[in-house]
């Protein structure tokens, strides 16, 4: 075609064949295919022009590859640093939870037991590793809002829920969510904290959410939390046996607690070896 700039390898003589090959390889490199194909063309047995262009292309390719690899290394480093920051923040927040526990003996073991049980339940419910971790974090932090409770709430009192403190109690999921709201890495765990006292029948607190607006992680926490609360000795009541607590959970499955979560905790508790 007269005037065409397109390279046409018409004459495959000894002189043009390496150049032909070189152009093919350069096109591949331009497309991002960093193979070794250019390297034989840098050898001393190649025509000088081919050798010089090939070596220059080879160097450019290596520079790009080295730069890409450096970026990959930096990204890895950043991921690692980000994970470290995340872990440190979790430690800081856990310290907050521990500070709360120091005010209240009950909370101390409760938080650890709830997060452990919730983690197991999440695993049994087919959640993936990341989702399970959010549930576990929700368990660790679910009562953090109690840090705002006045001291008298932690003192022994005769009646389970004297009316003057009910108002304080129903605030704690919201207070907790407020405390944690800026920690991005908590993801859905923030909502689990906010919703762990919501109920499938919509009569939960603080917002009285309908069932379909309560995340599964929060439903899991609700069951793990209630089970532990029922089976732990409190100033005003002796802890129930596993059987009695399970009976209550089952009786109220569908109203107070999510039925699937109740089935799962029952399965876990029945498989637990009793000494």
């Amino acid at each position: 075609m007269p005037g065409s700039q397109k390279y046409l390898p018409l004459q495959r003589s000894q002189a043009t064949f390496p150049m032909d090959k070189l152009l093919g390889v350069i096109e591949k490199i331009a497309q991002g295919d960093y193979s070794n194909d250019i390297m034989p063309l840098t050898a001393p047995d190649q025509p000088e022009a081919v050798r010089i262009i090939a070596e220059a292309m080879g160097m450019m390719m290596i520079k790009v590859e080295a730069r890409e690899y450096r970026l990959e290394m930096l990204v890895e480093e950043l991921k690692h640093l980000n994970e470290t920051i995340k872990q440190n923040t979790i430690h800081v927040v856990s310290s907050l939870a521990n500070a709360l526990a120091a005010r209240d003996e009950y909370t101390q073991g409760h938080t650890a037991r709830v997060s452990e049980m919730a983690e197991k339940m999440a695993g049994h419910m087919g959640m993936n590793e990341e989702e399970i971790e959010f549930v576990r974090l929700g368990g660790v932090l679910h009562d953090i809002g109690k840090i705002g409770f006045p001291d008298f709430l932690f003192q022994a009192h005769e009646n389970k829920n004297p009316s003057k403190i009910v108002k304080e109690i129903i605030k704690h999921p919201t207070t907790g969510a407020q405390i944690l709201k800026d920690l991005d890495f908590l993801g859905p765990a923030l909502e689990y904290v906010h919703c762990h006292h919501e109920r499938p029948d919509g009569k939960g607190y603080p917002r009285g959410l309908p069932n379909d607006q309560i995340p599964l992680g929060a439903k899991i926490l609700a069951v793990a939390d209630s089970y532990d609360a029922m089976t732990t000795d409190r100033p005003y009541q002796k802890g129930m046996t596993t059987e009695v607590a399970l009976g209550i959970l089952k009786k109220n499955a569908g109203t107070k607690w999510d039925p699937d979560c109740v089935k799962v905790i029952e399965k876990i508790l029945n498989h637990k070896e009793v000494p």
């Binding site: 034989p40 001393p44 080879g58 160097m59 290596i62 590859e65 450096r70």
Partner: protein
């Protein structure tokens, strides 16, 4: 190009001499593959008697580094002569490789 090997603490040191170009690079590649297949993940290439390195040679260094990093190991380059050091710098290798006087000097090793 000639390659001799020695051991320095945990490092397998490949002493390379001569030219690393398109003709000799396959030999270096084969040698590097052999020592990696033998289970070495801490490899040093002594470049003190390398007179010239082309893009083909640089590519072997880079692929060997990647292979060792993926096994949580490392490839370090020791004592490159002036012109070789210059090529390494131009290629950006000084930012991804540890270039030292001897493997034992490496704090991250």
């Amino acid at each position: 190009m000639e390659i001799e090997k020695s051991v320095d603490d945990k490092w397998l040191v490949m002493h390379i001499s001569g030219r690393i170009d398109a003709l000799s690079a396959p030999k270096l590649e084969a040698e590097a593959k052999t020592v990696i297949d033998q289970g070495n993940v801490w490899i040093a290439m002594d470049l003190s008697t390398v007179q010239y390195i082309s893009s083909a040679g640089l590519r072997i260094l880079l692929t060997t580094l990647k292979a060792l990093n993926s096994k949580s190991g490392n490839l370090v380059l020791t004592n490159p002569a002036g012109n070789v050091r210059e090529v390494l710098n131009i290629a950006g290798f000084s930012k991804i490789f540890t270039i030292a006087e001897k493997p034992g000097d490496l704090s991250n090793g």
